[in-house]
């Protein structure tokens, strides 16, 4: 315990000395450093901050030092996180490699793979994207069709992946591919790493209803992938994917809490866009909808805390299983509420007639529709609760 406090003091001092002033506020999307061959820093301070953190292994604090990590234990990593949060220090390197692929390689990869890929990740040299979903697979991950045929010295990959976030800016992709077409759905799937510079790989961005296109579709046309790029056992990729899904959930909930694009809170919007009479919002409908939303968010927030306290106390409950559903549904309600509060000012698509916050509100409203679809649709969440929590019979 005492040791941990010493560590905290050291960390605090080091951050104080090394984190540039400009890096002590939430980063806007365009200020984030995502690394990779085409990655660039938003400024000299961002580069300095990344390099200093990387030198200490703190782009991946819990990874072994041998792979460019910081070698911290979970308690120390927690302290580092808290201290960074205390001064609002930015994440020096945003990376799917650190958040998702790394944990999988650490658990399932061989030594050669770890040495080769993990260092390139912590150093920001290679940017990774994820290839799970396929056109038509939707929530049904196990139905994937992209095939990797064993050609003796390599696999020949054909097919395509969808929702490959930022694939057009990434260097490598980690994929689920079907290696045994005869096996039952979840079986016969393998976990494969593919260099996107390989011949036959191509990427097309997908425009969303929000007008954004960070999502892509990635095509594989007779792509030759060396056999050494298979992670774990052949046909056992499903268990790696499952383990990774846990990381993804965690990631999504953490991202939420430090979302770089800050949406106006509905109560603040109400003050700006609605009339008050005697200290009350005059529009009874919007006032009622606002209270409903605020109460729901209070309840969700308290349940977040409860999950945390239960985990710390080693108590199991169904609370964590309902959070994705409750949170994303509430997010949609919030976005609708913001539009309703802003009236016609919340409906602007572009141009100087609208403030940046107003334009953002509409785009985030459109994005909110994806939240109950991505990462397990609301329907799948309810199926899971019915099955695992309520243990209702399956037809």
């Amino acid at each position: 315990m005492e040791q941990l406090e010493t560590f905290r003091t050291e960390v605090r001092q080091w951050l104080q000395d090394n984190c540039p002033e400009s890096q002590r506020s939430p980063a806007l999307p365009e200020e984030q450093y995502w690394g990779g061959r085409s990655g660039s820093f938003a400024g000299e301070d961002a580069r300095l901050w990344f390099e200093r953190m990387h030198a200490r292994g703190w782009t991946a604090p819990e990874w072994p030092e041998a792979y460019g990590g910081g070698g911290l234990n979970p308690q120390q990593a927690r302290v580092l996180k808290e201290e960074m949060k205390r001064i609002n220090a930015r994440t020096p390197l945003y990376s799917l490699g650190i958040w998702m692929l790394g944990p999988a390689l650490l658990e399932y990869g061989n030594e050669e793979q770890k040495l080769r890929h993990l260092k390139a990740i912590t150093g920001g040299e290679i940017r990774w994207c994820q290839g799970y979903s396929e056109p038509g697979s939707g929530s049904d991950l196990a139905s994937l069709q992209t095939r990797a045929e064993d050609m003796g010295d390599h696999y020949l990959v054909n097919g395509s992946k969808i929702w490959t976030t930022n694939a057009d800016k990434s260097d490598w992709i980690f994929c689920l591919v079907r290696t045994d077409p005869g096996a039952k759905k979840q079986e016969g799937i393998s976990f494969l790493l593919i260099d996107m510079a390989t011949e036959g790989v191509s990427v097309t961005p997908i425009e969303l209803i929000s007008g954004e296109s960070e999502f892509c579709q990635t095509f594989f046309d007779n792509v030759r992938v060396p056999k050494e790029n298979l992670v774990g056992e052949l046909n056992k990729g499903w268990s790696i994917a499952k383990a990774l899904l846990v990381h993804e959930r965690k990631l999504m909930s953490e991202m939420g809490s430090e979302s770089p694009r800050l949406q106006v809170p509905p109560t603040a919007a109400a003050r700006d866009y609605l009339d008050f009479v005697d200290g009350k919002i005059a529009d009874a409908q919007l006032r009622s909808d606002l209270v409903d939303y605020e109460m729901q968010m209070q309840a969700i927030g308290l349940t977040h805390f409860r999950c945390f306290e239960e985990k710390a106390a080693g108590v199991q409950s169904a609370a964590p299983l309902v959070m994705k559903y409750a949170g994303t549904e509430a997010e949609k309600i919030k976005s609708e509420l913001l539009l309703a509060i802003m009236g016609t000012r919340g409906l602007g698509w572009e141009g100087e007639s609208f403030s940046a916050a107003e334009l953002d509100t509409l785009r985030l409203w459109a994005m909110s529709k994806a939240m109950t679809i991505a990462g397990g649709t609301s329907e799948v969440q309810l199926n899971v609760i019915a099955k695992n929590v309520l243990q209702l019979p399956q037809g």
């Binding site: 139905s143 425009e207 409908q285 016609t344 919340g346 409203w365 994806a370």
Partner: protein
């Protein structure tokens, strides 16, 4: 029988559907959007619509109209909701035509309506001054001069405001800022000196504009009806607009729901058509229930305009409130049930979603009309 279409009406609807699906499908709106079209609609198409008589459905024959009644116009508008067709149909054919018909004097009707009927005159109602619908919140001032009036003020969310030939401006000639007394309707050519127009690009890729009036000269004959007495007539115009917008939203809801149901029948997940999942079946069935109810509401509201004007305010608020909620629910479910592809711009469902949100704000959101309905009922 108001709740069942007669032969003539069915024919009109079929013709409209066919024309719009061939000439102005959702794809046409996408093209206007992607090419950042300056007008926001296809003027030659509008002239063809006028040839079909759509700008003059409700006009008496004396002014070159079809005299087909508001119920007829509603059917065409409903079809335009299915295809999300951008055209002056709402701003000119519904609001503009109604305003001149209800408020104009004989000279004005004789001059303007025939032009309007053949597509030579487009109009825009410059009403709103707030980001929420408040029809009596008018600060734009019409001041009397020796030889006419001057107009000063600002308007927002003026549909077709940047493309219409003439602006129907709601101005205050007397009374307090929120009073329904003292309102005057004046006709102002959009290219008048002192009129500044900024097009606002909205979520639905349709036309709207902010307008500024700076010492705009308005001749006495440009006043529609009597000075200071436009309030009650304006309310009738707005109620017609609300009902027509409800009809558009009915078309929008039907079409996005039909596409969703079709998708439920073709999309497979977990080895089954997703339409077999009972949870989705029930949600879809509940929407069908609401659609049926809303269908009756819209039909009744449309015929109320022609047959029972005393019930107009109540039916207008009922129709707008119900259809607001339906359009919101259907488009949300459409996106959710389409899953991943539902949130791509490639699929047209997103266009319905966005148009629904704008339509929900036009001439009053749900809360506005629930409150108005309750007030009209005395509670």
């Amino acid at each position: 029988m108001a709740l069942v279409l007669n032969e003539e009406q069915r024919l009109l609807q079929d013709t409209a559907r066919e024309f719009l699906q061939q000439r102005a499908p959702v794809e046409a709106l996408r093209k206007l959007r992607d090419s950042r079209d300056a007008t926001g609609y296809d003027p030659s198409l509008w002239r063809e619509m006028c040839e079909l008589g759509w700008a003059s459905i409700i006009l008496p024959e004396a002014y070159g109209g079809l005299e087909f009644g508001f119920a007829g116009l509603g059917l065409v508008v409903e079809e335009s909701g299915r295809t999300l067709s951008a055209s002056p149909l709402f701003a000119t054919g519904v609001l503009g035509a109604s305003a001149i018909l209800l408020a104009g004097n004989e000279t004005q009707k004789e001059t303007l309506l025939p032009q309007l009927a053949v597509g030579e005159l487009t109009l825009a109602l410059a009403l709103e001054e707030h980001h929420h619908h408040r029809p009596t919140h008018v600060e734009t001032r019409l001041a009397a001069e020796a030889d006419g009036y001057t107009l000063n003020g600002e308007k927002c969310f003026v549909l077709d405001g940047h493309s219409a030939d003439q602006l129907l401006v709601v101005a205050r000639s007397s009374g307090e800022p929120d009073s329904s007394n003292g309102l005057t309707l004046v006709l102002v050519p959009r290219d008048s000196a002192g009129v500044r127009c900024t097009r606002t690009v909205m979520a639905d890729s349709r036309n709207a504009a902010n307008l500024q009036f700076d010492q705009v000269r308005v001749p006495a004959e440009a006043v529609l009806g009597r000075v200071g007495e436009a309030g009650p007539l304006l309310e009738q115009v707005l109620d017609r607009g609300r009902i027509a917008m409800a009809a558009e939203m009915l078309g929008l809801a039907k079409e996005s729901f039909a596409r969703t149901v079709a998708y439920l029948k073709e999309r497979e997940q977990f080895g089954a058509l997703i339409g077999t999942f009972q949870a989705l079946q029930h949600r879809a069935a509940q929407i069908q229930v609401e659609l049926e109810l809303c269908q009756s509401v819209v039909l009744q509201a449309l015929s109320t305009v022609d047959e029972q004007p005393q019930q107009l305010p109540l039916m207008a608020s009922l129709a707008k409130a119900k259809l607001n909620e339906l359009a919101k629910r259907v488009t949300n479910e459409a996106v959710q049930m389409h899953g991943g592809i539902g949130v791509t711009d490639e699929l047209e469902i997103g266009f319905f979603l966005k148009r629904a949100r704008v339509a929900m704000q036009i001439l009053g959101d749900t809360g506005y009309h629930k409150d108005r309905y309750a007030r009209l009922c005395g509670y």
